[in-house]
């Protein structure tokens, strides 16, 4: 049984079908790429799985349990975590305090224990000088903080929503290696939404391609990249 599985997941916004009949699986230890043109429904799909939106129809199973009706905070506590495409670090909290949130609320730690755990986690990700304001840190550090923030909940499934956006080539390589390392060390299943194809190629074991809310292709990156339907979806024109 897969660790995370969806069955015919669908979400309408008025007349628009943002996610249409998506069935997929994700296992611990696996890195899955989720690609597709802008507006294909990738972020909506993550919002459905993490519980930010309720699906119009379809089911979500996590470790054999139906979690379709559970609110987002419960899913975070159970071990489904995510980062955000548009990052919003919490002002009025410093870097360390941002990372503490998951430890406090998902893993129910006291403040002292959460502080120690967050320090250790930041250290392992190479994030230092933790008493800084979130407005004071670099883009690379912001991305690391976002990942630390998501890992703090102790996830077994983690979605990274365009976490490489805004990074240069060297920084992207560093985050790719970091994601590979935490996937291995923590044995978590990672869903990566990304537009940079070299990242998808280097990072993922398997890819699903969304277009207009539907899965149009699935398989290893090399296979999917040659798929004429996928090329048409990205470049436009008749397939």
């Amino acid at each position: 049984m897969p660790d995370l599985e969806t069955f015919g997941l669908t979400r309408h916004f008025g007349g628009l079908v943002a996610v249409n009949n998506v069935s997929f699986t994700l296992d611990c230890g696996e890195i899955l790429g989720v690609i597709g043109p802008n507006g294909a429904g990738k972020t909506t799909f993550i919002n459905l799985v993490s519980g930010i939106y309720a699906p119009s129809s379809g089911r979500i199973h996590f470790k054999g349990r139906d979690i379709t009706g559970l609110p987002a905070h419960k899913r975070a506590q159970m071990g489904i975590s995510r980062t955000f495409q548009i990052i919003h670090p919490l002002e009025n909290l410093d870097v360390l305090e941002n990372v503490m949130l998951g430890f406090i609320f998902s893993r129910r730690m006291g403040l002292k224990e959460a502080r120690r755990s967050a320090e250790a986690l930041c250290g392992s990700l190479g994030l230092g000088d933790l008493s800084r304001d979130v407005s004071q840190i670099t883009m690379l550090e912001t991305k690391k903080m976002e990942i630390a923030h998501a890992l703090a909940s102790g996830p077994s499934i983690l979605f990274l929503d365009e976490v490489m956006a805004g990074l240069n080539v060297d920084e992207t390589r560093e985050i790719v290696q970091l994601v590979q390392r935490v996937t291995r060390e923590r044995n978590i299943g990672v869903g990566v939404v990304e537009h940079v194809m070299s990242v998808i190629r280097d990072l993922t074991h398997r890819v699903i391609v969304l277009e207009a809310g539907e899965i149009i292709a699935a398989g290893p990156y090399e296979e999917v990249a040659k798929n004429p339907g996928v090329i048409a979806a990205y470049l436009g024109g008749a397939a």
Partner: protein, 317 residues
């Protein structure tokens, strides 16, 4: 500010406040006592504001507390202290029940609804006949502590210490993290495992509890409650202005703002009768334009920037 000063300063301020009636004349004491009432309300308002929710309903829960204290004193002959506690419980209970509905609302919708609720409470009290005394209100047979002005000051100070104590406790606990996260971004907060409704309810009920307690104190001080006196819009607007002036999202900020604005209001009332409200309004406008963080917020910012400069970083505006 060093650690020792940070520990020592609140103790010193409380000590001065407790001893104030022993050295003060009757007039400053009466002014200080009325400032304390607003101060406690300002702190309670700020506690809810930390979640991003702006309440215009302070007078509503204050008024419920006032009437609860008056009614329990008159009907079941509750002692003044008991009636004040019942006032807090009553406001907290009403807030809890209303919370299931209004804590689904956000921002301006929440603000308008709390304003409307306060007015609804007033209308209900106004029309409930003998139970609330209707438009004439209720008169208590005697004042708390026989109206001794020092005792009145101390009991008002008790209300402030309760508000500040709860506020400081919240700031040291996981509630600070929860409320700050909710204020910043609710989607992100939920993804961190934060049960938004639960934490909004905790802070809404707690701030309403304080407002009820303060309303109960007010009634026991003056021995009188009428719809127009205890649901007065000033009980909403002055605490709000005090917190904004002093500095929001903190305990010292609203306290500082209450002292400054309270003293300024009294002084202006003497200097330019009837004109004082205009000056008062101008002060508030200037503060919001020039010091959006309030005085204490500005102070904290400069301390932080100085620390950063000392570490070799750069200050930010």
């Amino acid at each position: 500010m060093t650690f020792a000063v940070r520990r020592f300063l609140p103790v010193a301020v409380i000590a001065v406040a407790v001893l104030f009636p022993l050295v003060s004349g009757p007039y400053p004491l009466a002014v200080a006592q009325s400032i304390l009432i607003y101060m406690a309300l300002a702190v309670s308002w700020d506690m809810l504001l930390r979640s991003g929710q702006i309440s215009f309903g302070i007078a509503g829960f204050f008024g419920i507390g006032a009437y609860a204290a008056a009614i329990t004193t008159l009907t079941v002959r509750a002692s003044p202290i008991i009636s004040i506690l019942l006032a807090g419980a009553c406001s907290a209970g009403v807030a809890f029940l209303l919370g299931f509905v209004i804590l689904r609302l956000r921002k301006v919708y929440f603000a308008i609804t709390t304003l409307a609720l306060a007015e609804i409470f007033r209308v209900i009290v106004h029309n409930w006949g003998d139970f609330t005394g209707g438009p004439e209100g209720l008169v208590l047979p005697s004042l708390i502590f026989k109206g001794d002005s020092r005792a009145l000051f101390w009991i008002s100070l008790g209300g402030v210490l309760l508000a500040c104590g709860l506020s400081a406790l919240f700031q040291r606990s996981r509630l600070r993290f929860a409320l700050t996260a909710i204020r910043n971004n609710e989607v992100s907060a939920r993804s961190s495992g934060i049960d938004i409704f639960k934490y909004l309810m905790i802070v809404f009920v707690t701030s309403s509890f304080i407002q009820g307690i303060v309303g109960g104190i007010q009634v026991q001080l003056y021995g009188y409650a009428s719809p127009d006196s205890v649901f007065d819009a000033n009980y909403t607007l002055l605490p709000l202005a005090m917190a904004l002036l002093g500095g929001i999202y903190s305990t010292p900020g609203p306290v500082l703002g209450a002292v400054l604005l309270g003293v300024a209001a009294e002084y202006l009332k003497l200097k330019i009768p009837y004109g004082h409200l205009v000056v008062y309004g101008i002060i508030i406008v200037l503060v919001i334009l020039l010091l959006p963080d309030g005085l204490y917020g500005q102070y904290r910012r400069s301390v932080r920037d100085r620390a950063r400069m000392a570490r070799g970083g750069t200050a930010h505006a």
